[in-house]
Symmetry: C2
Subunit: 317 residues, 2 copies
């Protein structure tokens, strides 16, 4: 199938282009971007021009930031294209619901992707937890914002989500691996006094069987970077480490690679998109974004030291 990629920035170049290139399902037929291009692929700077010029392109993948994304997705759906959305699927929950309604009317597939759910160990973690009784689940998602978002001022603007931009990845894993629904019972959000979005957050969730479920997100982490989820059960403790890349059970690494048909988060996302289209389905799970919106609505705000992008600005390795 021919696909167009919209928003040729870092995530598109690093992940989407190679995943499409390596897939037997997809051919990258066009790009739309003000500046970015992909060698050998027809490049457009205007989205509506591409939609009109390439009626053969039936699928559009949107990797631009969430705030302008709705208008692109709505245009694509109205012209009968299937649409794939980078995370988070929108700047508001209401626009995501509106897109889903629109996709049903136009009978196209719509996929709100959560790339961390496709990390190597997530399916194995979910299977291991399925028949255990959860006692405690603790998320620790602590990274250095200067290292991963050097100079990116937009993350501090309204809608940029602040530390929830990485934190929503953890929430996408938690909502995937837990068998029942959880909801926020309280939260504390730390706002730098010169910024609109939080730099750290502590979340406490209600769990239907009474387990203690917590999350700590922090963007001020220097040195070792931490992306772990620890789940203590009646039959031992599971640790998801490196953002879902690996798991340990009772401290022992567990091999999970042999079961996986594809290697990598994005190749699995694109394989899933091909499947959704062939089955005529929509996958618009908003649970991670809903928890983030709940945290902004229910969270206690606390002012912390101002934040500036100064000093050493490492490049993402």
């Amino acid at each position: 199938m021919e696909i167009a990629l919209v928003g040729i920035g870092k995530i598109a170049q690093d992940q989407h282009v190679p995943a499409i290139g390596a897939s037997p399902d997809w051919t990258l037929a066009a790009t739309v971007s003000r500046h970015g291009q992909v060698e050998g692929v027809e490049a457009f700077t205007d989205f509506d021009t591409m939609l009109a010029a390439r009626p053969d392109v039936r699928v559009v993948s949107l990797c631009l930031p969430p705030v302008p994304r709705f208008a692109y997705a709505a245009s694509a759906i109205r012209t009968g294209r299937h649409v794939m959305l980078e995370k988070p699927p929108g700047a508001t929950l209401a626009e995501c619901h509106a897109l889903e309604q629109l996709a049903r009317v136009h009978r196209v597939s719509l996929f709100a992707t959560w790339h961390s759910r496709e990390a190597d160990s997530v399916a194995a973690a979910k299977a291991w937890l399925a028949d255990k009784t959860l006692r405690r689940l603790a998320v620790n998602w602590k990274e250095d914002v200067r290292r991963w978002h050097p100079g990116q001022e937009w993350i501090w603007e309204p809608g940029g989500l602040g530390v929830f931009d990485p934190g929503i990845n953890a929430l996408s894993i938690v909502t995937e691996i837990l068998p029942g629904p959880i909801h926020l019972s309280s939260a504390e959000l730390a706002y730098p006094e010169n910024r609109q979005t939080p730099i750290a957050a502590t979340l406490d969730f209600f769990h239907p069987q009474g387990a203690t479920v917590t999350a700590e997100f922090d963007w001020r982490q220097e040195g070792d970077q931490i992306w772990t989820i620890e789940a203590a059960t009646d039959e031992g403790t599971l640790r998801i480490v490196d953002g879902g890349a690996r798991i340990e059970i009772e401290g022992e690494p567990r091999k999970i690679a042999p079961d996986l048909p594809l290697s990598g988060e994005y190749p699995r996302l694109y394989a899933k998109m091909a499947r959704l289209i062939s089955e005529g389905k929509i996958d618009m799970d908003l649970a991670p974004l809903r928890h983030v919106a709940d945290a902004f609505m229910l969270g206690r705000r606390r002012r912390v030291a101002p934040f500036h992008f100064r000093g050493k600005q490492e490049v993402k390795p």
Copy 2:
């Protein structure tokens, strides 16, 4: 049908008890409250005790504040009771979704009520707008918090929603009368520097046909209190005034009472609940709460003067 009322505070005494008393569908069989009681009705102070002692009571109406409400609703549903929720239906969106899932599993009716949608003129406004082209819709919801919430500190605590507590009533009307979905495009929230919830908010919405849709909520309004929604269309202007009690078209009051089978918001809510149960249905429209959560997530925060409950504290008339 026998019904139990939980949380015997001001809204229960003013609205729920008279509505149940006047209805041919309902008998108030029990109350649950730490302090409140209704004369001639069996009073419990513990909810689980009531559920066990009164298996004949098949329906529970919850009027307690949103934060503790989830646990009550979940217990009621698990014991097979139909449940009616005051607005807002929960402190988080995720818990509302969880309740809906639970209600489906236990095959009971669940009703997230929005009393302002039952105001006298709302159905007429919706019918009038249905075949018009909207150009502009402006909500003005401006009241004096000292007058309507004298000394209520909880409205300033996380989860208390601040000015969105009345504002969500306006949003419940707007989402009822507009034919298509809207979503927030930007918002500004004014927080008193000593408080956790906003005292004022300005909201801008995206409208699918390009109308300008805005809302102004303010809790600092002295003198005349304003609860209006003005909708300019290609065929004239509709004004909803007094929170939905009356409408004017091109400045002329329009009579709407003769069409209405019941008088008052709460009698209509209880009639609807009886209908939902007889049809085995769930009505859990979360659109108003979703817009509020979106506003907290996407809104720009602005600090304003501290707020104190001092000076004259009028009583709600």
